[in-house]
Symmetry: C2
Subunit: 242 residues, 2 copies
Amino acid sequence: MLEKSWLVLDAFRPTGGPLRLIEVAERCQLPKTTAYRLLTDLTAIGAVERRERGYVLGRRLFELGSTVPLERDLRHAALPFMHDLYEATRETIHLGVRDGLDVVYVEKLRAHESLALPSRVGGRLPLNCTGVGKALLAYSSPDLIDEVLARPLRRLTAHSIVDAKRLEEAIGQIQAAGLAYEREEAQIGGACIAAPIFREGTVVAALSVSVPLSRFHPTRLAPAVKTAALGVSRALNRSTLR
Amino acid sequence: MLEKSWLVLDAFRPTGGPLRLIEVAERCQLPKTTAYRLLTDLTAIGAVERRERGYVLGRRLFELGSTVPLERDLRHAALPFMHDLYEATRETIHLGVRDGLDVVYVEKLRAHESLALPSRVGGRLPLNCTGVGKALLAYSSPDLIDEVLARPLRRLTAHSIVDAKRLEEAIGQIQAAGLAYEREEAQIGGACIAAPIFREGTVVAALSVSVPLSRFHPTRLAPAVKTAALGVSRALNRSTLR
DNA sequence: GAATGCGTTCCGTGACACGGAACCCGGACC
DNA sequence: GGTCCGGGTTCCGTGTCACGGAACGCATTC
């Protein structure tokens, strides 16, 4: 029951947006009677809402999701620095954390005329395909790095690093530079510089600047990203984040 | 079962954690065996996570919450304008919607040296106590205004408007000015200017600038807030928000 | 070593989740 | 009008699994 209800909620991903009863039923592989009851119950709870044409995820979910401590505290600490970085660069800024073998985006400041990146707040992408992901990976435990290298690597574009050997090299370079560079690995026409954020010596997040390839000037962007990440690390360690 | 599990999740508000088993049990008025099972199940799902000392809300909740369509689309439309406003003022910016008799904050850009405001993304405050809330209220249906006026008004500070008569006056002034002013009604030492955001003729949100009283210059802030809100309204009406 | 407080396991009972069947309703088609 | 069709809703008998009292484990405290 509990588990099935979350199956239903997951059926709404990634759009959150309107699904008919039937669609939910078949996405979840549930008999429509059951899907109906679950949706009705979830509606009563406020976890989903009815629209003229189907169901959408509900506000109560938004409220609860916003109070998840890790993400909330991290955002709180990072946002001012992300704004600074945005002002300095006027480009799209990302903040992400690692979850399993994915990066989950926690915050995103979108530039006015930015390209359509595959990232979304609350969305996940493979670690090896994005700047934030690679920065997180390069400073993760050797065990995790090994696990990622051992598995087949997913790709987002033709430029995504899907060769374990090349990824290992890239990780070495990131560790040496303290920054992760990414060119068209997540989105054709886009590039990115990312820097890790530490708390008590371990990576907890990473932030990045994403720019159209035509405006990609590493020497200008790199110091800004680095100081921003450093600022967040300091803010985190100062506060009593749990 | 389903309902009880959401009772448990709500027990974590407003902080999101960490709570001990016992605390959850008594907040929910559930026998501890039941609370234990629910927490265990929810942990398996990813909706809560274990920490050394108790349980916290889990990342899966954050991910799901981020995909709730209404809030996501509103944020998407509003963020660029909020950034503009932030740059122009370098003060804390809020975006909120109404839910029942509360304002729910959807986005918040925090200035570096801002005072500790009671607002949180995903948090709720009484409509009558904040700039965003008053702006939303003043442009709501007469029925809703009457309902708010009829009920006992909550307060956040000694300056909060808790007298129905005075609130009605304030609403009139807001409607006349197209802006809501707020001085120390939400937080001692803080003031705020808020403006409503419309979609197809009805208020759907409001945004505000919050400043320490010492820096409160209405004549400078008011036009900036107004243009930002107007910009968001226009962006909303242009897009096919559902 | 008794007591206390919290977390965990066990287990018998009964409520209620489950889902097949049947029904309703509006629209499309003839 | 009649018929069909696809989605949504209601009904209800069956069997399961959620429920929660009891009892135990295990620190910590006095």
